[in-house]
Amino acid sequence: MSESPEEISGPRRVIGTPSPAPKSVDVAEKPDTPAFSAEPSMVDHAKNAERVVAALFILAFLAGCGFIAAYVGLEVGVSTIPKGANAVVAAFRSNLALGTCLTIALLSLGLGSMIWVRHLTPNIETVEERHDLNSAPADRAAFQRTFAEGAAISQITKRPLIRRTMLLATLPLALAPLVLLRDLGPLPENSLRTTVWRKGLRAVTLGGLRPLTLADMSTAGSMITVIPEGYQDDADALAKAGVILIKFEPGQLRVPTNVVGGVTVSSPNWTLGDNTIVAYSKICTHVGCPVALYEQTTHHILCPCHQSTFDASTGATVIFGPAPRPLPQLPLMVDADGYIAAASDFTQPVGPSFWERG
């Protein structure tokens, strides 16, 4: 390409300022615009670029066909995969094939379009003129005239009965969206302060659904997640009622330390088995992640979400992290059949803070 005075790579004036002499921006009206295909080397270049673009588009076509083929051909249903195949692996395979095909198709389409623009279209800088946003005075006057004529023909000003009943007809429809806000409720009432735990309700293991005796928790260092018996399918109840039972060596536990409103509460039966078994809410008091990462050597309970750390030997007091309060402790009892049960509900709300908690 020859060096010429016109070859200027930067803009000639500040963007946004008006051109000193506005002229037509129509390229077709300018026959002396240098044609992009004028030089032989550029012809070869354009041909190569055309081939590359076409190849990418064909690749996108094939990958798109592959996406359909993968969707139809790779079975993921447990009943439709070949006998003996692993359903999880089948789903992995299907996801991989679908994702790869879609990636190749979209990427090839995008790359092809970019090469098209960069190597085949002439490099033209254009200036787009701004226009006034409001209409011409004549247009505005015409609109006002038409509107007034329409209003007169419809007789809306002369017939107040029709006008008022029409407004009345639209009123309920306008209010309807406001009424639909009711679906955001009902208000939580007392449900954030209470759980389904009550006196005598047995704790059963999550998964096995077995109630536990004191002998089942005989080894110091044991820890197990329990839920209220009979609520294993009640997700609303389980969301708040998850509890971890922890067994200590005699003398390790320094309880009761649960403080409600600045006063240490000692009346409920906080521990079982000679001050060795305690139960804490499994819901972190920060934002409600399940806390069950218990270290039997340090008695720390760690929340995996934001590293709030609670000391299980001192009433789950916060020793690190953003949690504002200790994990609420569940008072315990042994029922008539010898199984571990709750002695009451939690004495304070479980889980994260909420507006009216105080």
Binding site: S4, V27, I124
Partner: protein, 273 residues
Amino acid sequence: MSSIISRRRHPAAGYAAVAGGLVVVGVLYSTLAGGGASAAAPAQDTTQTSQGHSLFIESCATCHGLDAQGTAVAPSLVGAGAAAVDFQMSTGRMPAKELGAENDRKPTDFTPAEIYDIASYISSLGGGPAIPDANQVSTAGANTALGQVLFSTNCAQCHGFAGAGGALTYGKTAPSLNAATPTQIYEAMLTGPEAMPVFGDGTVTPSEKKDIIAYIIDTRNEANPGGFSLGRTGTVTEGLLAWLGGLGFLVLIAMWLTAKRKDRVVHVGEDDL
């Protein structure tokens, strides 16, 4: 150095810098792997116990005391049980490399027979869980789905949802379960080594332990059709790759889109029209 400075304005320099950064990130990411060991079922008798005692005096008594009664630097092993000895020694955690709250898995210098001898001696001191036999750790007929529920409830908070391990407090870590044998997993649940809580037969029944082992083995053997498991640690490595890899790729694309074209620019709507 001067050659780099002289070429830093080369058209390819930007691409090279970004690509180099991506390579460095890729090399920094690596996964660790280990090997496991398995052994035959043990049997106890008095010869074993006395052989175990002499092995104990040679290799363990320095820290745990001549009668396994414990010292200032190591706990008493009276009542620890054979399962604890087999877990700690077959995973190479004991004898410990150094004193501390935590020991890493490493190849053991002891044969299974020697470990059983020492286990026999420790269990002769009284109590503790026995080493589970092959039947107890067999996963034949186990309920993998229940195992998954139990694993997510009781194990996943430390070991990760796929058993890849995870962080504990104050720099301690929960190990990956990928190298553990079914016997070692069973023993770990029974005895609660290091910071791990005990999941005795009262809280997690022997049949539930089989279910958990079946889930761990099943997850471990799952194929990775994509080719990369990313350590199966979940959102951390996946997010790292998405942010660094994906963002780097987008930066390269953006640099390509905005690169200056070499052919002549035609200005329209200006004074050369």
